[in-house]
């Protein structure tokens, strides 16, 4: 009897332990998720983020007032609820009282005000998204030192007043750059070396040797606590990433735009989804010979975009325009009437990211195609960080990039060509376009705004500042043990990793 009793107790304890292990998702090591990135984040400061890797990490460690659902529905994040005044200019947000920063302090309205003020600062790369806030100066950042557009009504209530009713602004606040940071640390220049965020994952550190970054679960997160205990963001090229995936060292290649017939899919799962993105060859109008409109138009017309798509991304949609398919503005089709001239003999360099698996093939294809048509062309394969540095400094004549949208409105992409936008990679100055964009921002009527976008897009196409290659279809690769991975039609940046888990049974078998 005594023996039975003792064994029973051991059995019960065994079950309890087992239960705990199952609750946690057996064993902790199996809850470590490795995601491949094409580069380490170029910045951990949300207002400096204009590259995909930074935005992916930013979305893991920071939260905004709002967030996007996979189908782009606006959902509450740090803001528990929100309301808009009848004139559409005043937005009031009620913050969650249980939302905390990673240091355990409660997120307050002052933190939100400070974070959004930073987005309006002159050094902000994302200022263009927030300049509709009342008091923001379009040239130097702030109209005065105390903009009236951002007010903490109380500890948990925030009011934003806009210069004009701008419906997409709620989407801006759900975007990857509208993140909330703790006010008390913002003056610390070292803050972003070890940032304290508000997201579901907490920054853990960068291992430069392994070229990887680690984030861990934030146990006091107000929302769904992630099922993963740790995420390792491992940097590699596309080729290496596929190799690591095949050996089971990586569970996620979502950062890579794979084609549906990629070898990676011989193992693991393929999750396909459209994304709001356009691959373009950006043209810098400040660089010769692209300062000439006719040359740009000829160049734009010369590139075999459909051939390029079919060769490298056959499952992507043809780019009928600059705006990705399924978003307002994408339906604008414009036949460019160009005056045929002999291509200039100036050397033209097109920079493409080295990390792309087909970078060399792309180089050969484009060079061969354009040279046949008389262009003095050179395609330069360049590491991503260097490419982005040149992009920021507007050094490249032309460059291949993917234009991802931070919020699902044509305004986001059109803004890139606004004269006053410091991030205007094309250097285009078109007063008519500027006027149309200003008008569209103030237009609440969806259809009227859409017609303004149409005009603006026509101008953009006429200006020939982009060669629209294709609209990619994301073919996400994840390991077969990954569950809860749900793509987001805006981009891979917005994939909700709190829902992702590793099937413990599957992991054990592995």
């Amino acid at each position: 009897m005594g023996l039975w009793k003792r064994n029973f107790i051991i059995l019960v304890i065994g079950f309890l332990l087992q239960g705990t292990l199952y609750a946690e998702g057996l064993p902790p090591s199996s809850r470590v998720y490795v995601k491949s990135l094409f580069s380490l984040p170029l910045s951990l400061d949300p207002i400096q983020m204009d590259d995909g890797a930074s935005l992916v990490v930013g979305n893991l460690i920071y939260d905004g007032l709002l967030k996007f659902s996979p189908t782009l529905k606006l959902e509450s994040a740090i803001a528990e609820s929100w309301s808009t005044s009848k004139d559409g200019r005043t937005l009031t947000f009620k913050l969650r009282k249980n939302a905390k920063f990673h240091d355990g302090t409660i997120i307050k309205a002052d933190d939100v005000v400070a974070s959004l003020l930073r987005a309006l600062s002159p050094e902000s790369k994302v200022r263009k998204y927030f300049d509709c806030i009342l008091g923001a100066d379009e040239k130097s950042g702030m109209a005065d030192n105390s903009p009236v557009g951002l007010t903490a009504l109380d500890e948990h209530t925030l009011q934003i007043i806009l210069k004009y009713p701008f419906p997409p602004f709620l989407s801006v606040l759900a975007g990857a750059t509208a993140k909330i940071l703790p006010k008390k640390y913002l003056n610390n220049p070292e803050f972003f070396k070890n940032p304290i965020g508000s997201g579901a994952f907490k920054y853990s550190g960068i291992n430069a040797e392994k070229n990887e970054m680690t984030v861990i679960t934030f146990p006091e997160y107000y929302g769904n606590i992630p099922k993963l205990s740790k995420m390792i963001l491992k940097v590699s090229s596309e080729v290496d990433a596929i190799k690591l995936a095949s050996t089971g060292e990586v569970q996620d290649l979502a950062n890579w735009p794979l084609t549906s017939n990629s070898k990676a899919f011989l193992v693991g799962k393929k999750i396909s989804s459209p994304v709001a993105s356009t691959w373009i060859i950006g043209i810098n109008t400040t660089k010769k010979p692209f300062n000439d409109l006719n040359t740009r138009q000829m160049f734009k017309a010369s590139i075999d975009t459909e051939g390029f798509r079919l060769k490298f991304y056959p499952d992507a949609l043809p780019a009928s325009g600059y705006i990705p398919h399924g978003l307002p503005g994408s339906q604008v089709k414009f036949d460019l009437k160009i005056k045929v001239i002999k291509p200039p003999q100036n050397k033209i360099s097109i920079v493409i990211p080295k990390e792309l698996a087909s970078a060399q093939d792309m180089k050969l294809f484009v060079e061969s195609d354009l040279r046949k048509k008389g262009w003095n062309i050179e395609v330069v394969v360049m590491p991503w960080d260097k490419l982005m540095d040149g992009y920021a400094k507007k050094e490249h004549q032309a460059f291949l990039v993917s234009m991802n949208m931070d919020y699902p409105d044509a305004e986001f992409l059109l803004k890139n060509f606004e004269s006053s936008n410091p991030d205007n990679f094309s250097g285009l100055k078109n007063k008519k376009l500027d006027l149309l964009l200003r008008k569209s921002r103030m237009q609440q009527d969806r259809k009227k705004r859409e017609s303004l976008y149409r005009e603006a897009l026509k101008l953009t196409e006429e200006s020939a500042v982009t060669v629209n290659l294709f609209h990619p279809r994301a073919n996400y690769w994840v390991a077969s043990c990954v569950e809860g991975f749900e793509p987001n039609i805006l981009s891979d940046v917005y994939i909700d990793y709190t829902k992702v888990s590793l099937n413990s049974d599957c992991m054990e078998k592995k």
Partner: protein
């Protein structure tokens, strides 16, 4: 041949039953089918209305290529309808509530198994479709599909059917129960009529109450009137019978008096005949007063009996009369036992209770006086006759003298009483058309048996 009979209620109930159940269950089935069909039709109609309502709005969103908004609408419609909603443009999925992996991929329409009510049905879904366009605007080659799962609709229809069938059946059962009650209530006057007729026939003092159904009341009234007429007829008949019996008893009296008077006449002739010797004449003269007395006694007795002739002979229970007679004699003669053997139930005999009671008391008193210890009274009933026997265990009587005693000419040893009593009893029994018979009793003494006709 024996006929199996059932109550009228059962007959009506059984006659109505097949129709009642067939109609109830048939109605339940039809109503259920109707509602189930209505439920399904409603669902299809609701999907169509939703499509028609959404089409112009979705057309503007398709024109704008506003997929985020389309996804919100489609998701919202899907949640509200519990159905899959797909917007297809140029054969590719533009928006869907299902996996976003389907977006921009060719739309795979489920295989249509049959077409009904202008709607497609696959094995698992009801597929409603509408082209998305604004009137007056060019086609955008876009269509909206609402694919409602068939099973919930069938389940709803089936649930509706089962619930309605169950409710209808309950209503039918309730209706059947009420119909039974109604039949019973309807038949109540008939039952009353029946019991009234029965009561009127079997019970003398039965009081019939009026029935509120006119036809039945007329029948009841007729029966009641017939009964009264019958009673009157019976009374007349009883009176007639009594008169007839009275005449008969007169005849008997005349017959009984014939011999004594003839003897008296002969003795008077002898007494006055000079040709006869004086001894013969004296003997004849001396016997005249005795014979005259005897004649007088007979006449007196006859007179007394005739004064109490039955007025009418009604069929009544003779047992009651016997019991009362025993009780009366017992009260006076306590020393002797009077035992009785009387069957249960009534023995209906046409008689005058007061007269017959007197006859019985006479017999009982004679028996008690003669008996050593026991007097036994019994009644037997044959097919057309009731026999009342009074026996005792006394010395018995000389059978040769019985006719004389019955005629009232016998000399009783007890102040002439017995002879007179027997004669009176005999007369009463005769006046009822019966017979008084003497036998030796199995108890050792006398046994007098009254035989009366039974109805």
């Amino acid at each position: 041949m024996k006929i199996n009979t059932i109550s009228f209620f059962r007959h009506v109930n059984n006659s109505l039953n097949p129709y009642r159940w067939a109609i109830s269950l048939g109605a339940a089935f039809l109503i259920s089918i109707l509602f189930a069909g209505f439920s399904l039709g409603n669902r299809i109609d609701s999907d169509r209305q939703m499509l028609a309502a959404l089409s112009p709005y979705l057309a503007t969103l398709v024109e704008s290529s506003d997929r985020p908004e389309l996804l919100r609408v489609v998701q919202s419609v899907s949640e509200a309808k519990g159905a899959d909603v797909v917007l297809v443009q140029d054969d590719n999925v533009l928006a869907t509530n299902k996996s976003i992996a389907d977006l921009d991929m060719p739309f795979k329409k489920p295989q249509v198994n049959f077409h009904l009510l202008d709607t497609d049905f696959s094995a698992t879904q009801i597929i409603s479709t509408k082209e998305v366009r604004r009137s007056g605007y060019p086609s955008q080659n876009a269509s909206l599909y609402i694919m409602t799962p068939l099973m919930p609709s069938i389940r709803n229809a089936l649930s509706t059917f089962i619930i309605l069938f169950f409710v209808s059946t309950l209503v039918s059962m309730f209706s059947a129960r009420q119909t039974r009650k109604a039949i019973k209530k309807t038949l109540k006057p008939l039952v009353q009529l029946h019991s009234d007729i029965k009561g009127l026939v079997t019970e003398a003092d039965f009081i019939s109450k009026p029935i509120h159904i006119r036809e039945f009341e007329e029948i009841r009234h007729t029966v009641n009137q017939t009964k009264i007429d019958l009673d009157n007829a019976k009374d007349s008949l009883a009176e007639e019978k009594a008169k007839k019996l009275s005449a008969e008893s007169f005849k008997c009296l005349i017959h009984d008096l014939h011999n004594p008077i003839a003897v008296l006449s002969l003795r008077a002739s002898i007494a006055n005949d000079p040709l006869k010797d004086s001894e013969t004449r004296e003997e004849a003269a001396s016997s005249i007063p005795r014979i005259a007395d005897q004649i007088l006694n007979q006449i007196t007795a006859a007179k007394k009996n005739l004064e109490e002739e039955p007025i009418s002979l009604r069929d009544t229970n003779v047992v009651k009369c016997i019991e009362e007679s025993i009780a009366q004699v017992k009260a006076v003669f306590l020393s002797k036992a009077i035992i009785s053997s009387i069957p249960e139930g009534a023995v209906m005999v046409p008689h005058d209770p007061a007269l017959l009671k007197r006859a019985l008391i006479n017999l009982l008193e004679n028996g008690v006086e003669a008996a050593n210890s026991i007097v036994r009274v019994s009644i037997h009933q044959s097919e057309n006759m009731a026999m009342i026997k009074v026996c005792d265990d006394g010395p018995g009587m000389d059978e040769m003298k019985i006719p004389i005693f019955f005629q009232g000419r016998g000399q009783s040893g007890k102040a002439n009483r017995q002879a007179f009593g027997l004669s009176s009893t005999n007369h009463i029994v005769r006046s009822h058309g019966g017979k008084l018979i003497y036998r030796k009793s199995d108890l050792g003494g006398s046994s007098f048996e009254i035989r009366l006709g039974v109805i």
